[in-house]
Amino acid sequence: MLKDITLGQYFPGDSAIHRMDPRMKLILTIAYIVGVFMVGNLPGYLLALGFLYLVVRIAGISFRYIAKGVKPLRFIIIFTFVLNLFFVQGETVLFDLGFWALTKEALQNAIYFALRLVFLVMGTSVLTLTTSPVQLTDGLERLMRPLQRFHFPAHELAMMMTIALRFIPTLLEETDKIQKAQMARGADFESGNLIARAKAMIPLLVPLFVSAFRRANDLAMAMEARCYRGGDHRTRLRELKYTKLDAIALAGMAAFIAIIVLEGRLLG
């Protein structure tokens, strides 16, 4: 189950999308999501899908892999869909059950909202799949830097994210190992009712917490030993630079947004 989550996983490569500046990728991802939320008709979503498909192909990732990333979120998407069906007020009744009537507007809204969520997940997966966690947090830190003037801890936040991201695979591996070790002692994580299952988690969670705290302690010590003191006046190993690639991508995204807006005006 944990393996299904593509969001937050890096897919190494050397495509044009991979080589883009992480800041630009972050900005453009947000732009894409805003664009998708501006769409209000089906042809618009087809455009959004086409654009995404193009980007995914340039990145050299199989589209099915990206689509698979939506799977873990299917319940949220279905939930939103159903909620919209029931609670959006409309006039054109498609059929009437007496206590509740399905209206055209509600159905439309439900479909659009579900599609927006799907695009949101897929769009952000393109970002995380083509950008290594380190680059991502680097980009975030630079983008948030202007906020430092208002005492916003941009560097600290970015560092915390880097550390958190770096330890996700480690902790997953550790969980897997402890789980296997307890299974070797006859533990059963799969059967029983809810309470039995929750109880079965104790032999997994206690060692996991112990090791997480030990790791945190070791890491803090190692950072201190190398005189880490936070963000002020730190230079970087890799300076971020915008290139021609980023300009092209920006133009591409601008064209996409423009088409979406135009299309919205035309088909209203």
């Binding site: 393996k3 897919f11 190494p12 550790e174 190992k177 402890i178 296997k180 070790a181 307890q182 299974m183 070797a184 002692r185 006859g186 533990a187 059963d188 104790i202 032999p203 206690v206 060692p207 112990v210 090791s211």
Partner: protein, 288 residues
């Protein structure tokens, strides 16, 4: 009770970007009462192989039979298999979780559904086998113990399942010399006194040389060598080619031979090289 492995293949993350073939057509038979040393450099597939022995990992293709039971078969009782084949992971002290030593060791037997008296007997027995004093330690917290003691508690936790085959993945990793000797000593005793079949994964050629009766060498997911330690360790060149080494006694014998001393081939134990050196020294003395 034997373990038979037939044409075992295992692929990690099949279909994904990081697909790797971890095991390639492994065929092995582990018979009752053997003491096997499993060696190979990091990433050679030892740990993956070992986890197939009690069904923690299912083969991508091929079969693993424990006592005739096919582990991939859904009808096979996994718990029964895991009771028979005990697996001690690397750094097993990381799996300890209970409030007291006694409770932690009792975790395995409890999962087997045994009654109180039997569990208590097994806990005491397992602690005796790993040389931990029951009266002194049973109600201590596992997190108060020393590293070596924690490891012995963890091993006792597996022994309390009373397995017929005990698989240990680098049981001595990260221990000081005394801790190593204690662990190796108790493994040896377990093999000799209780007749438990042992499969020991190790990076130390000397540990393997001094204990194992059969050595299996893994390389790139395949069984590269399988035989008596004397035969395996006489292939120094091949072992070094696989990123491994030979026991110190073999190294010493080789160097002495290079200098023209008459040391017989096939020596791999410290005692043997000692004998051989004394013999040569005796001859030299007689000549002088």
């Amino acid at each position: 009770m034997s373990i038979v492995i037939e044409h075992l293949n295992y692929v990690y993350m099949a279909g994904g970007p990081y697909e790797t073939k971890a095991l390639n057509d492994i065929n092995l038979t582990i018979s009752d009462g053997e003491f096997i040393g499993l060696i190979g450099h990091t990433g050679s597939g030892k740990s993956t192989l070992v986890q197939h022995l009690n069904g923690l990992i299912m083969p991508t293709s091929g079969r693993v039979l424990v006592d005739g039971m096919d582990l991939a078969d859904k009808a096979t009782d996994r718990r029964a298999v895991r009771q028979r084949v005990g697996l001690v992971f690397q750094y097993p002290e990381n799996q300890l979780f209970e409030e007291t030593v006694e409770k932690d060791i009792a975790f395995g037997p409890k999962n087997l559904g045994l009654d109180e008296n039997e569990i208590a007997r097994r806990v005491k027995d397992a602690m005796r086998r790993v040389a931990l004093d029951y009266d002194k330690l049973h109600d201590r917290s596992v997190f108060e113990l020393s590293g070596g003691q924690m490891r012995r508690v963890a091993i006792a936790g597996v022994l309390a399942m009373e397995p017929q085959v005990l698989v240990l993945d680098e049981p001595c990793a990260g221990l000081d010399p005394r801790g190593r000797e204690e662990i190796l000593g108790l493994i040896k005793k377990l093999h000799e006194e209780a007749g438990t079949t042992i499969v020991m994964v190790s990076h130390s050629m000397d540990d393997v040389a001094s204990l194992a009766e059969r050595v299996i060498v893994m390389n790139h997911g395949e069984v590269a060598m399988d035989g008596a330690p004397r035969d395996v360790f006489s292939c120094g060149e091949e072992l070094r080619g696989m990123g491994l080494d030979v026991p110190q006694a073999v190294q010493l014998a080789g160097r002495l031979r290079e200098r023209g001393f008459d040391i017989p081939e096939g020596i791999y134990l410290i005692e043997e090289i000692r004998e051989a050196i004394l013999k040569v020294a005796g001859k030299e003395a007689a000549h002088a």
